[in-house]
C-alpha cells in the first residue's frame, strides 16, 4: 500500500481507486484497531461477581413448559425455581419456594407450605394458585410440552392430558389457600420431590403469559428480555441471539441475601474447539464440554481445571429384534458378551467413561444393578454356535447405524473389529445425518443402532420404562408383558424403597437376559472449570446451583497460597 500513497503535493489526485483505497484503509484502521490485551473476562468477572458460562447452543425457548435440552435448563434454573431445590452435591431435595412439606402415610398426598416472602421478579406475590395454573398449562396438548409425562405421577394428570377427562378439578393438584398446595399422586412415587425441581413443573407467571397470548399458545414473546417474569435467584436482562444471555440477581428473590453472584453471562458456543480456546484465553469460567482429543492432553498435564464426573446417562446399542438374524436371544447375548468395554473406554472414548453392564447407571437412587454380563468371548462363541452360526458361519452381514459423528464412528469401528475378531461375523457401518437417523430408527429401518439416554430424574424407572411394549423410546420391537407389569404396576405399589429396587433389579435382569439393547458405557461429564469458581460441585446430573456459586478473586486465592 505504501507505494501508492507516497506524497507529492504537486500532483492532483483525482484518480478514483487511489483515494478510495486511502479512505478504506482509514476506515479500516479506525474500526479495527483498539488496544489489545486488557483484562480477561475471568479476572474482571471475579471482581464484579460476573460468571461467564459456556452454554452450548442457542436456546430454543426459555418457556419451561416448551423447552428441552441442557442449555435451556441452565438458564431456566437461574431465572426460575420449583417448590423444592436439589442439594448441590447429593441432589437430595431441599426446600425451595416451599419452606416445608408433609407426606401422608400412604405416600400419596403431599402438602406444601410456601414461603411468606416468595415473590415474582416483578414484585407480585407468588402463591399456591400459581402452581395449579402452571400445571394446568403444562398439561394442555396444544402447548406441545414434551415433558408433560413428568406430571403423570399426579392423579388423573395423564387422563386429563390424553382427553379422557376434561375437568381439571379432578386432577390431583389443589391450592388450599395462598400458601398451601396439596398434591395427590396416583401411586406413592418416591422420586416425586425430585420432579418438582425439573423445569416442566416450575411455576410460570400467569399475567405475563396472558399478556402476550393465550395460555396454551406456543411461540409468544413472554420469555424475552423485558417480558419474562420469573421467581428464581436471577432475572433475565438481555438476550442477544447467538451472542449472549445475561441474567442479574433478582431483588425480590426470597433468599437474595445468600446469592453471591451479581450476574451470569451465558454464551452459546456450538463449536467446542472454539469454546476450549476461549477458556484458555480467560473468556469463560466454565465450558460446556471438551473436545475428545483434548481430554488426554489435560489429563497428562494433571490440569486441576479439568473436571470429569460420572453422568446419569447410558451409551448403548439397540438391536432390532424384528430382523431375522437378531431374533434369537443367544445371538444378542453373544454380541453383548464380546465387547471389551474396558478397552473401549481406555483407548477409544478416553473420557473416563465407566464400562456399563446394565442399562441403569450404578448408584441411581441407591440402586446398583447386578449383572451377569461380562466380557466372555469363549462363552459367546458357544452361544452363537448354539444359535446356528458356528464360528460365525452363515451369519448375514449386519449393519450398525449411527448418526454422523466422529466419536460414534470410532466406537462403531471398534465394535466391528471386536465382533469380527471374536465371533467372525461381518459388520458394516452406516452413518446418517441426525434427523435421517432418527427417522430410520423410529421406523425400525436398522439392524443395530447406536443410542444414548440421559436421565431426566434420578430413579431407575427413568431408564427401565424406556423398554415398555411399543413405547416411543423402545424402537427395538422387543416386548415382554411381564416386564411391563413389573415397571407399571408392581414397582409403584411397593411400600419401601428397598423392595421397589428389588423389583427394578428383577426387571433389569429380564432386560439383560433377553438383551434387546447392549449397554456399553456410563457417560461422564467432561468440562473445564476455572479455579476461581467455588461451590460448583460435581454431581451425576451435572446440575449447577447458581445461587450457591461464588467467585474467588485473584487476590483472595493468592492470599490462601
Amino acid at each position: 500500500m505504501t507505494f501508492l500513497s507516497s506524497s507529492s503535493i504537486t500532483e492532483k489526485r483525482r484518480s478514483g481507486p487511489e483515494s478510495l483505497i486511502k479512505l478504506f484503509s482509514i476506515v479500516m484502521l479506525i474500526s479495527l484497531t483498539g488496544c489489545g490485551g486488557g483484562e480477561s473476562n475471568v479476572s474482571a468477572g471475579n471482581k464484579s461477581g460476573t460468571l461467564y458460562w459456556g452454554n452450548g447452543t442457542e436456546p430454543q425457548s426459555l418457556d419451561p413448559q416448551i423447552a428441552t435440552g441442557v442449555p435451556e435448563h441452565h438458564i431456566i434454573s437461574a431465572v426460575m425455581e420449583g417448590l423444592v431445590l436439589k442439594d448441590r452435591k447429593t441432589l437430595e431435595p431441599r426446600p425451595g419456594v416451599a419452606k416445608s412439606w408433609d407426606i401422608s402415610e400412604n405416600g400419596r398426598v403431599y402438602t406444601f407450605y410456601l414461603r411468606d416472602n416468595a415473590r415474582w421478579s416483578n414484585g407480585d406475590p407468588h402463591t399456591a394458585h400459581d402452581y395449579a395454573w402452571s400445571w394446568w398449562r403444562a398439561l394442555q396438548p396444544a402447548l406441545g410440552n414434551l415433558y408433560a409425562y413428568m406430571l403423570f405421577p399426579i392423579e388423573n394428570a395423564q387422563k386429563y392430558y390424553e382427553g379422557d377427562i376434561s375437568n381439571f378439578d379432578q386432577v390431583g393438584v389443589k391450592a388450599l389457600d395462598d400458601r398451601t398446595l396439596q398434591v395427590t399422586l396416583k401411586y406413592p412415587t418416591p422420586y416425586f420431590l425430585q420432579l418438582l425441581d425439573h423445569y416442566s413443573l416450575f411455576p410460570v407467571h400467569q399475567a405475563t403469559i396472558e399478556k402476550f397470548g393465550d395460555a396454551d399458545q406456543r411461540g409468544t414473546r413472554w420469555t424475552y428480555e423485558g417480558n419474562l417474569v420469573g421467581n428464581g435467584p436471577f432475572q433475565l436482562v438481555d438476550w442477544k441471539i447467538n451472542r449472549r444471555i445475561v441474567v442479574q440477581s433478582n431483588p425480590y428473590y426470597w433468599d437474595k441475601e445468600n446469592v453471591s453472584l451479581k450476574e451470569i453471562i451465558f454464551i452459546p458456543i456450538e463449536n467446542i474447539v472454539t469454546e476450549e480456546r476461549m477458556f484458555r484465553a480467560g473468556q469463560l469460567h466454565v465450558t460446556s464440554s471438551l473436545p475428545a482429543d483434548k481430554i488426554s492432553v489435560y489429563r497428562e498435564a494433571n490440569d486441576p481445571e479439568l473436571r470429569i464426573a460420572p453422568y446419569l446417562g447410558t451409551y448403548y446399542y439397540r438391536l432390532n429384534v424384528r430382523k431375522p438374524q437378531l431374533q434369537d436371544r443367544r445371538v444378542r447375548r453373544a454380541l453383548a458378551m464380546t465387547i471389551d468395554r474396558q478397552r473401549l473406554v481406555d483407548n477409544i472414548t478416553k473420557g473416563g467413561q465407566i464400562p456399563a453392564y446394565a442399562m441403569t447407571p450404578p448408584g441411581t437412587m441407591g440402586y446398583f444393578p447386578e449383572s451377569d454380563l461380562t466380557f466372555d468371548p469363549e462363552g459367546a462363541k458357544l452361544l452363537l454356535a448354539e444359535a446356528g452360526y458356528p464360528n460365525g458361519k452363515g451369519f448375514p452381514p449386519t449393519e450398525i447405524l449411527y448418526n454422523t459423528n466422529e466419536g460414534h464412528r470410532k466406537v462403531a469401528v471398534a465394535l466391528q473389529d471386536m465382533w469380527k475378531k471374536h465371533l467372525n461375523i461381518d459388520i458394516r457401518l452406516l452413518n446418517q445425518e441426525w434427523k435421517v437417523y432418527l427417522d430410520s430408527e423410529s421406523a425400525g429401518q436398522y439392524e443395530i443402532s447406536r443410542a444414548g439416554w440421559i436421565g431426566d430424574y434420578v430413579d431407575p424407572n427413568n431408564f427401565l420404562d424406556l423398554f415398555l411394549c411399543g413405547g416411543g423410546n423402545n424402537r427395538t420391537g422387543w416386548c415382554n408383558e411381564e416386564y411391563d407389569r413389573l415397571i407399571l404396576d408392581v414397582a409403584p405399589s411397593m411400600k419401601s424403597h428397598k423392595e421397589r429396587l428389588k423389583v427394578f433389579q428383577k426387571a433389569e435382569n429380564m432386560l439383560l437376559d433377553d438383551m434387546p439393547i447392549i449397554p456399553i458405557y456410563t457417560y461422564t461429564s467432561v468440562q473445564l472449570v476455572n479455579s476461581s469458581v467455588k461451590n460448583y460441585d460435581p454431581n451425576i446430573m451435572n446440575a449447577a446451583s447458581y445461587k450457591d456459586i461464588y467467585l474467588q478473586t485473584d487476590e483472595e486465592s493468592s492470599d490462601k497460597e
Binding site: S15, F24, P141, I241, Q283, W434, K435
Partner: protein
C-alpha cells in the same frame, strides 16, 4: 443504463421464483421433520405442532400460502426458535455478517491490489514471484485452517488479540476479518496483476510514458482504472460470497452472524428459516451481481457504448 438495470431486475423474478420452488419442495421432501427428537415425541404433541405451523395441510397448499407471505416480505415464524420470526433472525444476523464481509473485503482489496499491482510493475522478478506465491498459498489455505492458526499465534501464544467474539472486546474484529479476507485477497491479487499487465502493454500507456510522465502517475492515474476492471467484476460475486460463506469464520470466532443460522437451520429442518435465508441470500447475490456489472460498465467506456448503442 436504467433500462439495463430494469431488464436485469425483471429477469431476477423468475430466477427467484425458481429458487423458492425448488428449495421449498427439497426441504419438505428431506427425510426427518422439524419436530423429531432423540426422545420420543408423543403423537398429541406432533399433531398440535403441525397444526400450529400449518404442516397438516397438503404440501401444495402450504407452498402457495408460503408464496403469498413471501411476496409480502414475511418469511414466517422459525420452527426451532420458539417465538422468533425468520425476519427477526435475519435482521439480527445481517448487520454483523455484513460488517464482517465489509472488513474482509477491505483486507482483500488493500492486500490484493497492492500485491497484484506490485507484481505487475516488475513482472518475473522477485517482486512478482513473492506476492504471487503468497497469493497461491492464500487461495489454497482454507479458513478453517488459517483461522485457528491465527488464533493460536495472536490470541493464545502472543496474547495480543481476543480469540473470539464480535464487538465484545477491543480488537476482536481483526482476526476474523483477516481470516475471511485472505482467500479473496489472493484472488484479487491475481486478477489485478493480470489486468494491470494487460493495460501496461497498451498504446496509451506508451504514450503517457513518451510524454515523460512519472511512472507513479502513469500507474495511479492511467493504468489502475483499466487494470482493475477484472477486480470490479469480481467484487459483486465476491461480496455475495462473503455474506453467504462466512459460516466457517463465524463458527471459529463465535460471531453471531447469518452463516451460523443457515447451517443450523438445515440440520434442524427449520423449514421457514432455511427458505427465508435462501431467498434472502439469492436476492443479495442477484443484486450484487447487477451492481458490479453496472460498475464495470461505468468504468469501461467500451461496454458503455455497447449498452447505449443497443438502445
Amino acid at each position: 443504463m436504467y433500462r439495463f438495470a430494469l431488464g436485469r431486475l425483471l429477469q431476477a423474478i423468475p430466477v427467484l421464483l425458481m429458487v423458492i420452488t425448488v428449495t421449498f419442495f427439497l426441504v419438505h421432501s428431506a427425510p426427518g421433520g422439524p419436530f423429531s427428537a432423540d426422545k420420543a415425541v408423543p403423537p398429541e404433541v406432533i399433531k398440535a405442532l403441525e397444526e400450529q405451523y400449518n404442516l397438516n395441510q397438503p404440501v401444495w397448499k402450504q407452498y402457495f400460502s408460503y408464496l403469498g407471505d413471501v411476496v409480502q416480505g414475511d418469511f414466517g415464524p422459525s420452527f426451532k426458535y420458539s417465538g422468533r420470526t425468520v425476519n427477526e433472525l435475519i435482521a439480527a444476523g445481517l448487520p454483523i455478517t455484513a460488517e464482517l464481509a465489509f472488513y474482509a473485503m477491505l483486507v482483500a482489496l488493500i492486500v490484493g491490489i497492492s500485491a497484484g499491482v506490485a507484481a505487475a510493475i516488475r513482472p518475473n522478478t522477485l517482486q512478482d514471484y513473492l506476492p504471487m506465491t503468497g497469493a497461491m498459498i492464500g487461495i489454497c489455505m482454507p479458513s478453517f485452517l488459517l483461522g485457528p492458526l491465527l488464533v493460536l499465534v495472536f490470541g493464545i501464544y502472543l496474547d495480543w488479540l481476543p480469540v473470539s467474539g464480535w464487538g465484545d472486546l477491543p480488537g476482536d474484529k481483526i482476526l476474523p476479518s483477516i481470516t475471511l479476507g485472505t482467500g479473496y485477497a489472493a484472488y484479487i491479487a491475481r486478477l489485478s496483476r493480470g489486468g494491470m499487465l494487460e493495460v501496461l502493454s497498451q498504446d496509451y500507456i506508451r504514450t503517457a510514458r513518451a510524454k515523460g510522465l512519472s511512472e507513479r502517475l502513469i500507474i495511479v492515474k492511467h493504468a489502475l482504472r483499466g487494470g482493475l476492471i477484472p477486480v470490479v467484476a469480481f467484487l459483486g460475486p465476491a461480496f455475495a460470497g462473503l455474506l453467504a460463506g462466512s459460516f466457517v469464520v463465524e463458527t471459529i470466532f463465535q460471531i453471531p452472524g447469518l452463516g451460523r443460522f443457515y447451517v443450523q437451520a438445515a440440520f434442524n429442518r427449520d423449514y421457514t428459516l432455511i427458505l427465508g435465508m435462501t431467498i434472502f441470500l439469492s436476492t443479495l447475490i442477484i443484486l450484487f451481481n447487477l451492481l458490479s456489472d453496472m460498475l464495470a460498465i461505468w468504468l469501461n467506456p467500451k461496454l458503455r457504448h455497447e449498452i447505449e448503442g443497443a438502445k
